[in-house]
Symmetry: C2
Subunit: 406 residues, 2 copies
């Protein structure tokens, strides 16, 4: 007997038929003798609809009331799934964030979980009751409903798994697991049996939108074993685990890409200490994340060009902010380009293997793809290239690192 | 400065434009210096949709989970209206049943309000904040969401008005007030300026579906002054008040009718003491309400015919129950008729005026309408007639009692 948290995303509970299918799966797990806590998202599209309503009625909405409106989607699913389970003869009960409670801070709209009180849930699990928890929501210090930000149900599931010391947290989604790259681009991409938290973090943050980054980070910190698998099939999915649980380490586990990138170049910025802080300070104040940065060597010792990337959705705001500070920053001109993509090779194995970056540069050069910016971390090498080369670059790298399935 | 509770039904908040219109009305009341508590229903159609989902997924649904699902509609409206008010510069905050809390008993799906804790609301009202309360919901003794049954938002509003000692409870709906009869049948029907609680109770229970009966009863018990008015116009509506607040009492205030009636006649029931209890006991056990009853005089002293009415929706079940007990009851045959309508003349004035019933019988006789069953109370005379005569009967009675507008 094990204790399992199972999380089902919006596409897995998109309509009543799918909710019934989820109920059958949960019932099977319970019948196998496991203790089950289910975490559910809103039915696909519902949260978007609620967000749009709130934004339409008040574009500068009070996040407290926004949370009241958007948290209803998960509430509906939790009640319906409890009903579906009861219909199958399974003892089940729904739980809202305030009922458990899942205590969060007061940052409405993107609250952080502070504590999960498990006494009541423990007692219910002990007598064989399945708990169906509305994801994405908690109770703020002001006794008001909070939400955890988009994709927050993953975080709910991991936090519950940690608090309840669950053996595993299963994330059911609409794909079979984590792939070496996007199968829509590379037909020979294959599912990974295991991946480390750190690799998953990189995969998630560069576009493989299967798991919320924050949830992976929490799972890593709390040592929660994650499994990503399809709610529509019976495959074993991909286990996300500690590095020491992975026997045969690949140099490179996967190729990720993100189209949501834009490049900004500031021409002839003063080449003096502190200028980077002067530029990135106002952007940080405006809540704009800067990712890759490259500073050219100054030709004359006075001025240099500075290039960096932001998400495409932040581009207009970034240009506005930099324009407002143009005098203080003293740059000559600003050039931007939204037609760029970030391609990354990822793998914990590269820590102990030289030449991973070199292999990447050579593979891209052979296809005549120009690299605009490079950034590296211990387990990742990312390059910024023109967006039109996305598929070519991903396919070439997938082959170059020996990831094409046999 | 007064303290006002304003309740808006589903059609008044049917879409975002209407929610904005409600916000403007509430804002005006607040700008006039009144303390305002708003109670909202779900957007029109939403509750029906939720009920259907719950019923589809589990026809024998657990009322606890049903409540979790169906209570979300009012939650959405409360958040959206708070946002709309804030957009107009009004300080506003939404309140769910569990947050106030509105404490109810544990009869999920049709819970009764036991207490409303007002400390927090009082403090907020004192500093000029508008409270937007999700109607229809409360907190049960098991710390779970309860709902009050269909139309329960009226009851929420009256309970809040009573607990907060509000000067008035305004029920905004899609009609201008309470009419002497259904204007779709009688073009010369006119709006009443005032009506007593008792008259309203009769009007509500016989088909003028403007106010929930339970809410009127609670208002009468608690002495809450009700006003029924249109959310789409600026008219003063109808005040529902104590009898002593009505200066000029009409003999008859209105003509109501209900098509949701069915007649059952048991042929040759034994004419012995206790037979009525034997018949109506099993029906009561099956939660079937019996309304009008008439027992014919026994011709031979051994057996008699017994006629009574139930709601049309209960007819099939009533026939089933009576069939199961046929042997014990010993009747010869059962005849039923769903093509009947109950027409009632209502007025507190008839207490002190003889001849009200006589006027009714004469008016119907003049049109050749046969009366099948008669029942009377202190402020009401009802007759059961063939459904095809509904409009003719209502129009004739409206004229006969001098209610046709000048």
């Amino acid at each position: 007997m094990a204790r399992i948290v199972q999380k089902f995303g919006g596409t897995s509970v998109a309509d009543l038929d799918r909710i019934n299918a989820v109920a059958r799966r949960v019932a099977q797990t319970a019948a196998d003798g496991d203790e089950v806590v289910v975490v559910v998202s809103a039915m696909a599209g519902v949260t978007d609809e609620m967000v749009e309503r709130a934004s339409t009625i008040n574009s500068l909405h009070d996040a407290r009331e926004y949370d009241v409106v958007v948290s209803t989607g998960e509430q509906v699913t939790s009640g319906l799934l409890a009903l579906a389970l009861q219909h199958l003869g399974v003892t089940a009960r729904s739980w809202l964030g305030w009922q458990i409670p899942i205590r969060t801070d007061g940052v409405h709209g993107r609250a952080r979980i502070l504590a999960v009180e498990t006494d009541e849930l423990e007692a219910r699990l002990a007598r064989g009751e399945v708990a169906v928890v509305a994801g994405f929501q908690g109770l703020g210090p002001d006794r008001r409903v909070t939400t955890l930000g988009r994709g927050g149900s993953d975080t709910s599931a991991v936090a519950l798994a940690a608090a309840l010391k669950a053996e595993r947290c299963d994330i059911f989604t609409d794909v079979d697991g984590i792939f070496t790259t996007d199968p829509r681009i590379v037909a020979r991409a294959h599912k990974l049996d295991r991946i480390t938290y750190e690799e998953m973090l990189e995969m998630a943050s560069v576009g493989a939108k299967v798991l919320q980054t924050r949830a992976v980070g929490l799972a890593m910190t709390e040592g929660v074993r994650l499994r990503v698998l399809s709610s529509f099939g019976d495959g074993p999915g991909t286990l996300v685990v500690d590095e020491d649980e992975i026997v045969e380490k690949q140099h490179v586990s996967g190729i990720a890409y993100s189209r949501d990138e834009a490049k900004i170049t500031l021409i002839r910025v003063a080449d003096r200490p502190g200028v980077a802080a002067d530029i990135f300070g106002p952007l940080a104040d405006a809540d704009i994340n800067v990712d890759m940065i490259v500073q050219n060597v100054s030709a004359d010792g006075k001025a240099t060009d500075l290039t960096f990337t932001v998400t495409e959705s932040d581009l207009d705001r970034a240009i506005l902010v930099l324009g407002e500070h143009k005098k203080a920053l003293g740059y000559a001109d600003l050039v931007s380009d939204a037609n760029v993509v970030k391609v990354s090779v990822i793998g914990v194995g590269m820590r102990s293997h030289a030449g991973v970056a070199q292999c990447m540069f050579r593979a891209l050069a052979e296809k005549g793809i120009n690299i605009q910016v490079i950034s590296t971390s211990e387990i990742k090498v990312s390059v910024l290239i023109a967006e039109e080369y996305t598929e070519l670059a991903v396919r070439s790298l997938h082959a170059a690192y020996g990831l094409d399935a046999a």
